[in-house]
């Protein structure tokens, strides 16, 4: 009887489909995958350790560089944790501006997801369309804080600058454009037969497995579990807003894609409500220049684009945190890669990797 020899193939760290510097050791039997082992650490920058030698305000820019395509959400997580620790009350206007920026950044991050997924599936056109629309959001960030990606806009106690009329007007224009944009994506990718064949029924994660791996964010929602920190914790102003959580059924690649498309529409809905309700008032609370939270520890979690992002901060009463630990969703979601790749052919491993949507900055931290 003919037998094939097992073969170990190294994907990465330089590979166009690994979204950064990840190495995946794929064990192959012919073309079928019998194991995929991610090797991490190529982008380990020691952010947690560096934070110990910075003041609380100086720590915020590091969170920008954790998950660099959704910087606003990371700023929010860290700032809310410090606010909880120091007992700072954030003005209502600031909370609305924060919510608008975070949801805009969620859309921008899903654009990168769509762009890289379609690029990995062999259509460079998809990337061109997604990045075209992402530029519109980056323009908005450019207006509000002067940066495109690493914004450092949300600060401890509020936001650094008020939302100008130009920002609000252009955000409204963008929200009006979203349905047209989604319609174009539907015609371009969602209705594409090759795209559907590649995505449907591949790399299934069942509900039990998703819970077992501790996954969060769009990945667990695709498996049919409506787990969203925005709904559970109702942090910020999310408790007052009316929005739904898209939930998938089977947990295959296709569901993970459709969840993201659904989330773009929901984010647009949230931004619309925030723009309507935004009150006047201060955009920054009175925060002492030298921030010395009392001794103690705090854990705060927010719904990042990729899942549950938590910051655990231990304070020893000085101006610098004693210890910071970051609960990174990409890192935890990535361990499902082996399970997703098993039994698939080699070409599907790229799809599986793209739909987990990990970012190496966050995985390695």
């Amino acid at each position: 009887m003919a037998q094939t020899e097992k073969f170990v193939l190294n994907m990465g760290p330089q590979h166009p489909s690994t979204h950064g510097v990840l190495q995946v050791q794929v064990e192959l039997d012919g073309e079928n995958i019998i194991g995929a082992k991610p090797v991490m650490g190529y982008l380990h920058r020691g952010i947690e350790k560096l934070m110990e030698s910075r003041t609380y305000q100086q720590c915020v820019p590091f969170t920008d560089r954790l998950d660099y395509v959704s910087a606003m959400n990371n700023n929010l997580g860290f700032c809310m944790a410090v606010e909880k620790l120091a007992g700072i009350e954030v003005p209502e206007r600031a909370q609305y501006i924060r919510t608008i920026c975070c949801e805009l950044n969620r859309i921008a991050s899903h654009h990168v997801f769509i762009g890289s997924l379609t690029n990995d599936l062999g259509s460079a056109t998809g990337m061109i369309y997604a990045f075209r629309d992402r530029e519109k959001i980056l323009d908005l960030f450019n207006i509000i804080c002067g940066a495109r990606m690493t914004c450092h806009y949300i600060r401890i106690g509020g936001v650094i600058a008020d939302a100008q009329d130009e920002f609000i007007r252009k955000t409204e224009e963008f929200i009006d454009y979203v349905p047209q944009m989604l319609d174009e994506y539907d015609r371009l990718f969602t209705g594409n037969e090759i795209f559907q064949k590649r995505m449907q029924g591949t790399s299934v994660i069942s509900q039990e497995d998703a819970l077992r791996f501790g996954m969060s964010g769009p990945n667990i929602r695709a498996s049919g579990i409506p787990y969203d920190i925005r709904k559970i914790d109702k942090y910020g102003v999310y408790g007052d807003l009316d929005f739904d959580i898209p939930v998938g059924r089977t947990g295959d690649n296709w569901d993970r894609y459709m969840i993201r498309i659904g989330e773009i529409a929901e984010s647009a809905k949230i931004i619309r409500q925030c723009l309507d309700r935004m009150p006047d008032g201060p955009f920054m609370a009175k925060v002492p220049k030298v921030l010395k939270p009392a001794k103690g520890d705090v854990y705060h979690r927010v719904e990042n684009t990729r899942g549950e992002l938590g910051f655990y901060i231990v304070s020893d009463g000085t101006t610098k945190p004693y210890r910071v630990h970051i609960h990174r969703p990409s890192f935890i979601n990535l361990q499902a890669l082996d399970h997703m790749c098993r039994g698939m052919v080699l070409a599907d491993s790229v799809t599986a990797f793209a739909t987990i949507d990990p970012l190496m900055g966050e995985v390695d931290c």
Partner: protein, 183 residues
């Protein structure tokens, strides 16, 4: 110029006389093939530069190759850690000559915000010769286009960047030393 006078007067508007060296430099400078290797945050801006709005292909640089053997420009985009250094050196050595390097972002110039980290290489010129330094955290896509145009100028007119030879030779020695030790 004497050389121009070789051309008969009736062909003066149709024939250009040049040296082979200048012709090669012109060709190299106008069709750079970058290696699509992104390390961290800067790689997203590198993708933006290649995507719709900024459209690097207007300058002839759009052919991002995934294989180092087909490319002649290494854009080191993002934080370089010591763990990533051996694969990056290997990529650099696999590229055919002549090859050029752009150090994109503050991390590759002097460590950037991670300068005091235990795992980050503080400066790309510690391990390989760098042609163009591009500051920013991350640099905007316009800045990357400007860096590519500066590289074009440097390829076509090496005499304009004469002072940098000493620095690049020092980096070459460090690279040779590092690969010798690895062997």
């Amino acid at each position: 110029m004497e050389i121009v006078d070789i051309v008969p007067p009736e062909l003066k508007n149709n024939v250009i006389v040049t040296s082979v060296d200048a012709l090669f430099k012109w060709g190299r400078a106008n069709s750079i093939w970058p290696l699509s290797s992104g390390l961290a945050c800067c790689s997203i801006e590198m993708m933006c530069a290649a995507a719709s709005r900024f459209d690097l292909s207007r300058f002839g640089y759009e052919v991002f190759r995934s294989c180092p053997r087909q490319s002649d420009l290494l854009i080191v985009a993002g934080t370089l850690t010591w763990k990533m250094t051996p694969p990056l050196i290997r990529l650099y050595e696999e590229m055919p000559n002549p090859k050029y390097v752009i150090a994109m972002g503050n991390c590759n110039i002097g460590g950037g915000p991670f300068a005091d980290s235990y795992s980050v290489v503080t400066g790309l010129d510690q391990i390989m010769p760098v042609d163009v330094y591009l500051p920013g955290c991350p640099p905007r896509p316009e800045a990357l286009i400007d860096a590519m145009l500066k590289l074009k100028k440097r390829i076509q007119h090496p005499e304009a960047a004469q002072g940098s030879e000493e620095r690049m030779n020092a980096s070459r020695e460090k690279l040779a030393d590092m690969t010798r030790r690895a062997e």
